[in-house]
Amino acid sequence: MTLFATTLPENSNDGYVAAAYIVFFALVLIYVAIMAIRLSRVERSVRELREQAARQHDGSLGRPHPEDTPPIAGDRRREREIV
């Protein structure tokens, strides 16, 4: 509270200016955050779609998809992915 009290302008009306600009930037920030959540959802969908497509492709070739098989000992990348 002390920090806010010292950083806000001295005139009581001037706090309203800060409030108006903060409200505006907060709205923009909320919007950007919502967009970021949506983007992560889209990225997840793309990843799932790619995995499904790869699985389908491998299935048609008659060999199992790498993610359907257990990791080979020493394959650190696959072990990390599964963990």
Binding site: N13, D14, V17, A20, Y21, V23, V42, Q52
Partner: protein
């Protein structure tokens, strides 16, 4: 295709906003009557102008949709109205803060500018419920376009009605920038340009995101995953 130029637009918005804020707080003089409080003017008025223009642009895009039956115009119209609604919320909030500071009340019901903006905002607040109440995409787009055109025509009529009203308590801006000192007018115009750029950028982001989601769904259907 939709993300073309998005990075340049975003950078231009950030640059314009930085310039506008610099001008507002370090260049524009303190107004004699309201003092430092008048700085809200450079935020509130551009927001209101851009929001109202966005509603009208949404109507114009809806006309393009009805003429061409191209779904992209419907999406652009929807995004413009959606973004204008968000800007409208910001207008109402910053306006209330300004009213509280200068008049002592959060809201004044006998002020035509405030009430007319609220009417326009509430009118457009019904746009999304109306739109999503219709399941058939074709009908949804058509009805939403008709609504956007009708409401879009109402916006300038509303503006003219307010201008013709007798109360002149609310500060007049459009058509009176010549009354402002050159430094204030310049700051105001830069703020307006920054706000318009922000609107365009957010609309582009929203359109791009929607288009990507639609493409994803279509691709999933094509591959038989849904």
């Amino acid at each position: 295709m939709y993300s073309r130029g998005l990075r340049a637009l975003s950078l231009a918005t950030v640059a314009a906003f930085s310039a506008a804020l610099g001008l507002v707080f370090f260049y524009a003089p303190i107004e004699a009557d309201q003092g430092f409080l008048q700085k809200i003017f450079y935020l509130h008025v551009p927001l209101a102008i851009v929001a109202l223009c966005g509603f009208v642009i949404g109507g114009i895009m809806a006309i393009a949709h009805l003429r061409t039956r191209d779904q992209r115009w419907d999406m652009r119209s929807y995004v413009a109205i959606h973004m204008s609604l968000i800007f409208g919320v910001a207008v109402l909030l910053t306006g209330s803060i300004w009213a509280r500071a200068s008049w002592g009340h959060w809201w004044v019901w006998d002020e035509p500018t405030l009430v007319s903006f609220l009417i326009v905002f509430l009118l457009y607040a019904t746009y999304q419920p109306l739109r999503f109440a219709i399941e058939d995409p074709e009908r949804q787009a058509r009805y939403a376009s008709v609504f956007a055109i009708t409401a879009g025509a109402f916006v300038p009529l509303n503006f003219i009605a307010v201008r013709l009203s007798s109360s002149y308590v609310h500060p007049r801006v459009l058509g009176s920038t010549s009354n402002l000192p050159p430094s204030m007018a310049f700051t105001f115009l830069v703020s307006l340009a920054a706000m318009a750029l922000l609107f365009a950028t957010l609309c582009s982001y929203e359109t791009c995101a929607k288009r990507t989601r639609m493409l994803l769904k279509a691709r999933s259907r094509t591959l038989g995953f849904q």
